[in-house]
């Protein structure tokens, strides 16, 4: 029983079950799984532009997934990546529209702003946790909705571009666009930033004192506290950094893909990223691999719908099942004891 449970509660088991479920969804929709999967993978990996689009989705998922990884490793349940992503994108879009600077300067400024904004948003939950003992699961979740309302208010009202047909900010000047890796696609250098960040995060987690303390707090908070880790500082810092990574991701979507900001920035990347982080077993490098896998699902899902008539929403059911299966493993020590001191 134990071996069975371990096998199927691991990422491999989840993937196997997900593939089976996907096949089932295709059969229910009256499509042979072979046709369905070939449409899925053909759409995601069939040509240069398809691969580029898959990598765009990969990048969009990778940033929040890395942010979530950091928070989970630190024992904090950040389910607010969606809001942090949005706020980061909002900051980049609001300032980027009026920023006329050389590309390198603009990129640094806008991505930095996105990271700061996301960091503030995440740090807010961290501050509430550190000083008021407010459960971060609920606060990060609630802040998602506050972020959505704020963004919606700003793009409908003060930040709305008079030229735009929809509710969005003025477009970014070309000089503020992130350079593309593959011409005529939407794939910008943001994927390189994300991968570099993954290596950096792994280094920080495994090779620095800060990372050691962060993991200690995550795995044995009481031991960490007794060994002199400043729990309050660690709490808000972890969530702020986690939010900053997601915010940076939001800024790369604005500067690299959308070139404007509106509330359609994320179709739920921040939530899917939880699954990505868990499938990647909270190891930044494996998270990259997992993000690529989910990127295939996200971009191939559309092709699967168009070519094989399998509704793309089946993808979300599959993602949900993966999350459900992986929930059987404990990632975050549930902390119920009183205020961190």
């Amino acid at each position: 029983m134990n071996a069975y449970r371990r096998l199927f509660s691991g990422p491999l088991g989840a993937i196997a079950i997900a593939v089976a479920l996907a096949a089932l969804a295709m059969i229910v929709a009256g499509v042979s799984p072979i046709a369905g999967f070939s449409a899925l993978f053909g759409g995601a990996l069939g040509g240069t532009s398809d691969i580029a689009e898959t990598l765009v989705q990969t990048t969009a998922l990778l940033f929040p997934a890395l942010g979530i990884t950091l928070a989970f490793r630190g024992g904090l349940f950040n389910i607010g990546a969606e809001g942090q992503l949005l706020i980061g994108g909002l900051a980049a879009g609001a300032v980027g529209a009026h920023l006329h600077a050389p590309t390198a300067v603009a990129a640094v400024v806008l991505l930095g702003l996105g990271a700061i904004a996301g960091g503030v948003w995440g740090g807010l939950a961290g501050w509430m946790k550190a000083y008021f003992n407010a459960n971060e699961i609920i606060s990060t979740l609630m802040l998602n909705f506050v972020a959505a309302a704020l963004a919606s208010y700003l793009v409908v009202g003060p930040l709305r571009s008079p030229q735009a047909t929809g509710a969005e900010t003025a477009p970014l000047p070309h000089s503020a666009w992130l350079p593309l890796i593959v011409p005529d696609t939407r794939l910008s250098i943001s994927i390189l930033i994300a991968i570099a960040l993954a290596f950096l995060l792994r280094f920080v987690l495994t090779r620095t004192i800060f990372g050691y303390e962060l993991r200690a707090v995550g795995e044995a908070p009481e031991a960490a506290r007794r060994n002199g880790v400043q729990m309050r500082r660690m709490t808000w810092l972890t969530l702020a950094l986690s939010g900053a990574i997601s915010g940076l991701g939001g800024a790369t979507i604005v500067t690299g893909v959308m070139h404007t900001f509106n509330t359609e920035l994320s179709p739920g990347y921040g939530f899917t990223a939880i699954a990505v982080a868990l499938v990647g077993d909270l190891d930044p490098l494996w998270v990259c691999v997992a993000a690529f896998g989910f990127g295939i699902l996200e971009s191939g899902g559309l092709a699967m719908q168009a070519v094989a008539q399998v509704p793309k929403d089946a993808i979300h059911v599959i993602e949900g099942c993966i999350i459900l299966i992986l929930a059987a493993r404990r990632y975050v020590a549930t902390r119920t004891e009183s205020a961190p001191v």
Binding site: S9, A29, I138, M142, L150, Y153, I274, A314, V317, A327
Partner: protein, 290 residues
């Protein structure tokens, strides 16, 4: 002017009741599961599942009552998934709840295309008609019943004990996991009922995203109401009032953006969470597998 004020007030009161009811149902669901020790982030998904199932069943049978039952049943089923996972496999309840939300939203969207071949919204179905006023009333009956059960019956005492100290329940010779499983199923059923109210009560279709975060608002209501049935109900009505106010004031009060009112339940929950409105304490073993 006076006529408008009177009309608006009457509308506001009625609309508050209509808008509160689904949140009350889901919030009561949240109270019972959290009091038993299971955090239910999946309320939103259970509402979605209930809303969609109600429409599917009403469409298939032409009978809205069947739809209502189906909504409750699917909600309960999703509650069972959470409860079974939480008790049998000790899953991380937060992660599992998020999974349920994704499955329900994706499943409903998949079902729309598969069953009706139209993404976005279902065809029109038979709705509950006037019965839905009864359903609004029933929400408050449920609040009363849950209060009574939790505080005045042995079963309720045991459920609360499971949320505070499951070991004590074990040492009394009872199985806390069973109570938790029941509580999760009831929680799902209530959320499913709230969802069904949205789709075949208020309107007569299912449209994608129609729950619009009400499951999460209910979660906020649970916290704001300090994990008690009446508290959560009061908070749900409070949030329902602001939703109704948004409709009544639409376009009339320019200085107050509607987004501010949309954000209000969440801000209220954040304030409560910080302990700024009296002491807020979750059940001691809430979310801790046993």
């Amino acid at each position: 002017m006076m006529d408008f004020v009177h009309g608006a007030l009457a509308t506001l009161v009625l609309l508050t009741l209509v808008k509160s009811a689904p949140i009350v149902y889901a919030a009561l669901g949240g109270v019972i599961s959290e009091r038993s020790g299971i955090v239910n982030i999946g309320l939103e998904g259970m509402m979605t599942g209930g809303a969609f199932a109600a429409v599917v069943a009403s469409y298939a049978t032409g009978n809205a009552a069947v739809g209502l039952v189906a909504g409750v049943a699917v909600g309960a089923l999703l509650g069972f998934v959470l409860g079974y996972g939480a008790t049998k496999f000790k899953v991380d309840q937060i992660v599992a709840g998020m999974g349920i939300n994704l499955i329900a939203a994706g499943g409903a969207a998949y079902g729309l295309v598969l069953l009706y071949n139209q993404p976005g919204a279902s065809p029109q179905v038979h709705a509950l008609g006037r019965w839905y006023w009864l359903l609004i009333l029933f929400a408050f009956v449920c609040a009363f019943a849950l209060h009574h059960v939790l505080y005045r019956t042995p079963w309720g005492l045991r459920v609360r004990a499971c949320g505070e100290n499951p070991r004590a329940v074990t040492s009394a010779g009872l199985d806390p996991l069973r109570f938790r499983l029941y509580a999760a199923v009831i929680s799902g059923a209530l959320a499913g009922l709230g969802g069904a109210f949205l789709s075949i009560g208020e309107v007569n279709i299912y449209s994608e995203g129609m729950t619009a975060g009400r499951g999460f608002i209910a979660l906020a209501a649970v916290i704001f109401g300090r994990w008690t049935p009446w508290g959560a109900t009061g908070a749900a009505v409070f949030f329902g009032f602001f939703e109704a106010l948004q409709f009544v004031l639409q376009g009339r009060v320019a200085w107050l953006p509607s987004e501010a009112m949309q954000a209000l339940p969440y801000l209220a929950a954040l304030v409560a969470l910080c302990g700024l409105v009296g002491k807020v304490r979750a059940p001691a073993s809430d979310g801790v597998p046993y």
